[in-house]
Subunit: 261 residues, 2 copies
DNA sequence: CGTGGCCTTGAAGAATCTCAAATAATGTGG
DNA sequence: CCACATTATTTGAGATTCTTCAAGGCCACG
């Protein structure tokens, strides 16, 4: 456990924040990885102290994003990767027929924008599902700093690889599971991520609509709703709109472990 | 276009091949990126000459893999990434119920094993679909060499990001397309990759079974077969088992562009 | 207090899967 | 080189799952 006070401690201003340079935000907050309460989840995870201090040298921006606001859009030029400080985001694409395809949800400590390296422009859009706060990390600088540190390179590689693995399992889900298995896998995933952030793993509030869940899981919103109801009737969950309480974790796990090891 | 002869040119033996060290292969072939006919597709793509020469310094292994043989299995320790020299591979997972989930197909010049960085062990298995040849690239050494070269780091990042984008589009496919759209997208993708390798984009031989295509696309083999038949009846394709001839590329493109931009 | 967004539920329809059988292609062992 | 076993593919018919369309309720917000 970390002391939450650390995060708010005034930090030595080695560099001006990029906010200050662009003059946009009212309060140019200086952010440092070494004092962040998310450092065990986020970019610095697994790094030695001296490497984390290298990260502190970057001109991080720190910014609030209002619910519904878009952090970047598909096609935007790629300059930063983003770390979620608080709140929840969705990644999405707009299909040719105008419908939205959700490709991921992002919680505190998770990185967004790694899919932009391939083309030099963002391959998806990121939208805040609730009021949120992010760190924007200038990629060029990050690459420079990485050059000096093997372990930082490793971490970047691992972050990207993790993204690949994450999408891998989503592919398995979309390719081989039925509606109940999909929703069970989704809920268990959320549950684990809540737990890793110090929240209850058995009771939480979903930040996304049924339609967004459906888009992500490859099913219609009505099917999502029906499946929630079915789980409730089976005594696996208590569902009240977006508030979820997992009553029978084992049964929920069995539902989806039938398919995935 | 490159002259194919370059590839077979005897190369200065700066380093012994790793084959020689392990004493397994009969002919310890020395492989170098700078003289490889795949250099515009593979790892060296976009690198300056001096960076490609750095790659030459790595103790590449070069190995033949028989049809049906497995290059690595999920859970195996991660020591190398692999580049396909010739032949076709599939990546797959084994689900809890014993069924196979195919997560990708790999052709000449493509890298395999990038999903292993996250956990330090391979997240999927790679199996040759026909007699094939690969380069095995020791990841530790690659990371070391990358440390000295920003552009090599960029290339690695781009390779990984490309993998993320690839899986992204597969997710869109699995999440929002019907059978015809899926198969059309699959065929157009193969077609483009064949073209990039100097083969005909309108006529080619599939190396995978209907079941493998189905697993990859999230549909049953019977549905794959029926969809092939439907395309044939619509005059879009000529199908003779695994031999495919695209008759109406535009119509095929329209079939799947209805959904994805 | 009305409006719009979100969620739930029902019923009918469509797409895909399952089961089954026939055929073709391939490989094996004698 | 042939007979036989095995594997891959195609096609049909019925079952199942999910989607579509439709209606109504709940809730937050102006």
């Amino acid at each position: 456990m970390h002391t939450a006070t650390l995060e708010n401690r005034p930090s030595p201003l080695k560099f001006v924040s990029s906010r200050e340079l662009h003059g946009a935000a009212p309060v140019p907050l200086q952010t440092q990885c070494s004092t962040c309460h998310l450092k065990d989840l986020c970019l610095p995870c697994g790094l030695a102290t001296n490497d984390v201090e290298r990260l502190d040298g970057l001109q991080f921006g720190r910014r609030k994003v209002k619910a519904g606001a878009t952090l970047y859009r598909e096609g935007d030029g790629f300059h930063h990767i983003y770390a979620v400080r608080s709140g929840t985001f969705k990644s999405s694409l707009t299909l040719a027929d105008g419908r939205e395809q959700v490709s991921g949800f992002h919680m505190a400590g998770e990185l967004m924008g790694l899919d932009a390296l391939a083309q030099g422009r963002h391959a998806s859009s990121a939208t805040a599902l609730e009021d949120a706060e992010i760190c924007s990390i200038p990629y060029g600088q990050l690459a420079e700093v990485s050059a000096a540190s093997t372990s930082l390179q490793m971490v970047m590689g691992r972050m990207m690889s993790r993204e690949i693995v994450r999408e891998h399992s989503l592919m398995v889900l979309l390719g081989s599971m039925n509606a109940e298995e999909r929703l069970a896998a989704f809920l268990l995933n959320i549950s684990q991520r809540m737990k890793a952030r110090g929240y209850s793993s058995s009771e939480f509030h979903l930040r996304m609509t049924r339609a967004e869940i459906g888009s992500y899981l490859g099913m219609k919103l009505e099917t999502v709703s029906r499946t929630f109801s079915a789980f409730q009737q089976q005594g696996l969950l208590e569902v009240d709109k977006r508030h979820i309480r997992i009553l029978d974790l084992q049964a929920l796990t069995r539902t989806f472990e039938q398919r995935v090891q």
